[in-house]
C-alpha cells in the first residue's frame, strides 16, 4: 500500500461548522436506515430549526422521511406557533401535536402547583410516542446546555417508561451507534450533541435560516422575577410588588412561555446576536430558564423521567 502523504493541500481543510454538519447528517441517516418509526421533535426553537435544515440536507433531493412532533404545553409564544405551521407547510411535513391542554382536559395529567407545565410535558410526550409507536425521537438538545446534558450519548437508550439511566448508558464508540431495542423501548437521538449555542448561530447565519422574530431584539412589557425578565402575557401576570415596564429584549431560548425569560439586548440582526452570544458570560439556560433552577439536578431528574 502507498504511504500517506503528510502534506495536506489547503483544499482538504474542513471548517468546524462543516465537520459538525457532516456528523449530524451522518447521525440522521443512521437513524432512518436502522430504526422503524423516527420522529423529529420540533418546537419552533432555533435548535429544532437547525435540525430541520440538517434533515433536509441529509435526504435531498428526497423529502424528509419522518414526521415532526410538537409537544404543545398550551403556553406558547404566538410567533413561534405561526412559525411552526408555516415551516411545516413549506416542507410538506406531517405534524403530530402532543397537547398538554388536551391531556389536562382528559385527566391524564394534573396542573402542578406552580403552574409550570415543564414537568407534565413528559407523560404527554410519552403517551404520544406510545400512540404513534415512534421508536426514535430526534431532539435538538446540545451537550453544552447543561451539566446533565454533557453526559448524554448521541443515541440515548430509553426503557419502555421513557426513562434515562445515566449510570448505565451504552458505550458509544467511534461513529458506531447502537439503535437496537425491544418493542416499547426507544432511542432518543441528539444530532446536535457537539454543537454549541454559538455554532448554532453561525449556522443560522450561514444557511440564512429564518427564525421566530422573538429571537431578535424588540420592545416588550416585562416584569423582573428571580433576577430574570419575564414577558407579561396571559401566562405571566405581575405578582405583588412587581411593576411591569418596557424593555428592549430578545429570547435566547424558546420554551414554555410561563417559564422562559428574555434577556436585555439590542441585537436585532444575526451578526449582532453572534457578537452578543460570543461575549456573554451567562449560559443560555442559566439566563432564561426558571425550570432549571428548581434544584442542583433538576435537568437530570426530569431526564430520568423521560424528559428531553
Amino acid at each position: 500500500m502507498e504511504t500517506i502523504d503528510t502534506t495536506i493541500p489547503a483544499a482538504y481543510r474542513v471548517s468546524h461548522l462543516d465537520a459538525l454538519e457532516a456528523e449530524s447528517i451522518f447521525v440522521m441517516r443512521e437513524v432512518v436506515a436502522e430504526l422503524e418509526r423516527p420522529v423529529l421533535l420540533f418546537s419552533g426553537g432555533k435548535d429544532s430549526i437547525v435540525m430541520l435544515r440538517l434533515a433536509q440536507k441529509a435526504f435531498a433531493p428526497a423529502r424528509i422521511p419522518f414526521p415532526v412532533m410538537h409537544v404543545d404545553t398550551g403556553h406558547n409564544f404566538a410567533e413561534v406557533l405561526d412559525y411552526r405551521d408555516q415551516r411545516v407547510a413549506e416542507l410538506g411535513l406531517q405534524l403530530v401535536v402532543a397537547s398538554v391542554p388536551e391531556a389536562l382536559e382528559a385527566g391524564l395529567v394534573r396542573e402542578s402547583a406552580d403552574g409550570m407545565r415543564n414537568r407534565i410535558q413528559t407523560p404527554v410526550l410519552l403517551a404520544a410516542v406510545e400512540k404513534y409507536r415512534f421508536d426514535a425521537l430526534f431532539g435538538g438538545a446540545r451537550r453544552d446546555e447543561e451539566k446533565a446534558r454533557a453526559k448524554e450519548r448521541v443515541f440515548s437508550f430509553r426503557d419502555d417508561f421513557g426513562q434515562w439511566d445515566p449510570k448505565n448508558q451504552r458505550p458509544e464508540l467511534w461513529s458506531l451507534y447502537n439503535g437496537r431495542h425491544h418493542p416499547g423501548e426507544s432511542i432518543r437521538v441528539f444530532p446536535l450533541s457537539n454543537w454549541t449555542e454559538l455554532d448554532i448561530w453561525h449556522y443560522i447565519a450561514r444557511e440564512r435560516l429564518a427564525l421566530p422574530s422573538i429571537y431578535y431584539a424588540h420592545e416588550r412589557l416585562v416584569v423582573e422575577r428571580d433576577g430574570m425578565l419575564y414577558a407579561v402575557n396571559e401566562f405571566i401576570r405581575p405578582r405583588g410588588a412587581e411593576e411591569p415596564f418596557k424593555a428592549q429584549v430578545r429570547y435566547r431560548t424558546v420554551g414554555d412561555a410561563s417559564c422562559t425569560a428574555a434577556v436585555r439586548s439590542d441585537a436585532d440582526t444575526v451578526e449582532l446576536v453572534i457578537e452578543e452570544v460570543a461575549a456573554t458570560r451567562i449560559t443560555e439556560r442559566g439566563a432564561t430558564r426558571g425550570d432549571d433552577r428548581v434544584s442542583e439536578a433538576a435537568m437530570e431528574d426530569r431526564k430520568r423521567e423521560g424528559y428531553f
Binding site: M1, D5, I8, A11, Y12, R13, V14, S15, H16, L17, D18, A19, L20, E21, A22, I25, F26, R29, A33, A60, P61, A62, E79, Y83, Q86, R143, D144, K147, A148, R149, A150, K151, F157, K167, R170, P171, E172, L173, W174, N178, R180, S193, T196, Y203, R208, L209, A210, L211, P212, S213, H218, T269, V270, E271, L272, R281, T283, A287, E296, A297
Partner: protein, 435 residues
C-alpha cells in the same frame, strides 16, 4: 411583527470564521487534577460562565469544601457528586481564535475503563495527567496503552502539581524519561511532555516563570497548533454506503444516490470505482450535496454519490478504488475491549457485530490471549475476558466484512459487538488481521 425573520446587518457576510476542530480526551488517575485542568482551560479561555461558576461555588460552600471544587463543573450527575468521582464521559466545549475544541472528559477509575475507551475512540489527541509527586502509576500506563491501542494520533503527558515539587527540573525529567521509555514499547506516533500546575495555571495558557528550564510550548499553545489535518487518510478511498436515496416524487424521477460519509480517500466525478462485496466496477457520475454538486469529497464529508451504471447497491456495501480495496473477510483477528459487567466474553459466544454501516452476526472462534495492560504481558492460558479486560480473539462472521486493519483506518478497522438478548453494546473491537 413578522413571524419569521432573517435580519442581516447591511454589508455583513454571514459566515462563521472557518476554524478547524480538535477532539481530545483527558485521562489520568483519580486526584491527578484532571477536573482542575479542564476547569482551568475553560476559565482561561473565557468558556466558563458566571452562572456555572456561581452554582459550583454555592455547592462547594454548602458541602464545606475549603476551595471552589472545579470538579463539580464536570461531574454533572447526582451519583458522581455524591461519590466525588467521575463515572461517565462528559463532553465540554471551548474555542480560541485559532481552533474549536471538544473535550471528552473521561473517568480515571479502573472500573470505568470502558468509558475511557469511549472517549478515546474519536479523539485526535489525548492528555494524560500524572501527579509530579507520585510519578507514573499503574493508571498512567494503562491509559497510555489504551490511547495507543485506539490509535489516538497525538499524546500529551502533563506532569501536574509541579508547584508541589518546587518546580524541580529533575523530577520532571525523571517522569518524562520513564514515560518515554514506556511509550517506546507502544506505538505512539507523537508525544509531547509539559510541566504544569493546573491549580495555579502555570504553562496552561502562557509559559510559566517558574519553569525557565522548560523550553516547550504552553499546553494551550500546543493544542492550538498540533498538526491534525494529516492524520486523515486521503489515500485509501473508503465510502461505506449508509442509505440509498430514491425519491418517490413526480418532480425528481429515476434518482438513485448512495448517501454516506467519506471514511478516507478523495472521491471525484469520473473516478473509476469498485463496489464491494459484489466487485462490480463503475464510474462516479456526480457527487452531490443539498447545496449542489461538489468537485471532490473527502473525510469527514457527508455526501451522496451517483454512479454511471445501474448496479444493485445497498446499505452496508462499500465504494472503493479497483486497485486499492479493503479485505472482504469473514475471519477476523481483532483486539477486543470487553465492556459488559454481566457476562464475560468466552469462545463460542455469539453476538451481533456492527462494522461501518454493515451489521452481521459473529461467533468467537478463539481467545488467543488476555493482555495485562500494566505489564503488557500476554496471558495465553486465559479462557475468558471480563469487564474492562482486553485480549486478542478470532471471529467468524455470517457475512463478509469490508475491512482494513485498524492501524490503517480507524473507521473501516473498528467495530462493536452487541448482545442480542440485552441489546447492550458489550465490546469495542479493533481489527488486527483479516486473513
Amino acid at each position: 411583527m413578522s413571524t419569521t425573520a432573517f435580519p442581516v446587518a447591511e454589508g455583513a457576510a454571514p459566515e462563521g470564521r472557518a476554524m478547524d476542530l480538535l477532539r481530545f480526551a483527558t485521562a489520568g488517575s483519580v486526584d491527578d487534577g484532571k477536573s482542575t485542568l479542564i476547569g482551568r482551560l475553560l476559565y482561561d479561555t473565557k468558556s466558563l460562565f458566571t452562572d456555572q461558576l456561581a452554582a459550583v461555588e454555592a455547592v462547594s460552600a454548602a458541602r464545606g469544601d475549603e476551595y471552589t471544587n472545579l470538579a463539580l463543573l464536570t461531574d454533572g450527575l447526582r451519583a458522581e457528586r455524591e461519590q466525588g468521582i467521575t463515572i461517565d464521559v462528559a463532553y465540554r466545549y471551548f474555542a480560541t481564535p485559532r481552533r474549536k475544541f471538544i473535550i471528552a472528559d473521561t473517568p480515571g477509575h479502573i472500573q470505568y475503563t470502558r468509558n475511557m475507551v469511549t472517549g478515546a475512540s474519536t479523539a485526535d489527541l489525548a492528555l494524560i495527567l500524572v501527579d509530579a509527586r507520585k510519578g507514573l502509576v499503574e493508571q498512567s500506563r494503562r491509559h497510555a496503552f489504551l490511547c495507543s491501542l485506539l490509535r489516538v494520533p497525538h499524546l500529551v503527558l502533563c506532569v501536574n502539581k509541579m508547584d508541589l515539587v518546587d518546580w524541580s527540573q529533575d523530577v520532571f525529567e525523571r517522569i518524562s524519561d520513564e514515560f518515554t521509555a514506556f511509550a517506546a514499547k507502544l506505538e505512539v506516533p507523537d508525544l509531547t511532555v509539559v510541566p504544569i500546575s493546573a491549580l495555579h495555571g502555570d504553562n496552561i495558557v502562557t509559559r510559566s516563570e517558574h519553569t525557565p528550564w522548560y523550553e516547550g510550548p504552553s499546553l494551550l499553545h500546543h493544542l492550538e497548533r498540533v498538526h491534525i489535518a494529516s492524520d486523515r487518510n486521503l489515500v485509501d478511498v473508503r465510502f461505506p454506503v449508509q442509505y440509498v436515496i430514491r425519491p418517490q416524487s413526480t418532480t425528481v424521477t429515476d434518482y438513485r444516490g448512495y448517501a454516506g460519509q467519506v471514511a478516507s480517500g478523495v472521491l471525484k466525478p469520473g473516478d473509476e470505482v469498485m463496489v464491494l462485496p459484489s466487485g462490480f466496477t463503475s464510474r462516479i457520475a456526480a457527487i452531490e450535496t443539498a447545496d449542489g454538486p461538489v468537485a471532490e469529497a473527502f473525510p469527514p464529508m457527508s455526501v451522496t454519490v451517483r454512479l454511471t451504471d445501474e448496479i444493485d447497491i445497498s446499505r452496508g456495501d462499500l465504494i472503493c478504488r479497483p486497485n486499492n480495496a479493503p479485505a472482504v473477510a469473514q475471519d477476523i483477528e481483532a483486539m477486543i475491549c470487553w465492556m459488559d459487567e454481566s457476562q464475560p466474553l468466552r469462545p463460542g459466544g455469539k453476538y451481533a457485530i456492527k462494522h461501518t454501516t454493515r451489521s452481521a452476526r459473529t461467533v468467537v472462534r478463539g481467545l488467543h490471549y488476555r493482555l495485562d495492560v500494566n505489564s503488557l504481558h500476554r496471558d495465553e492460558t486465559a479462557t475468558e475476558l471480563g469487564l474492562n479486560e482486553i485480549g486478542r480473539v478470532r471471529l467468524r462472521t455470517t457475512v463478509p466484512l469490508l475491512a482494513d486493519e485498524y492501524r490503517r483506518n480507524r473507521t473501516t478497522g473498528g467495530f462493536i459487538l452487541i448482545d442480542e438478548t440485552t441489546n447492550r453494546t458489550v465490546a469495542a473491537g479493533m481489527i488486527v488481521d483479516t486473513n
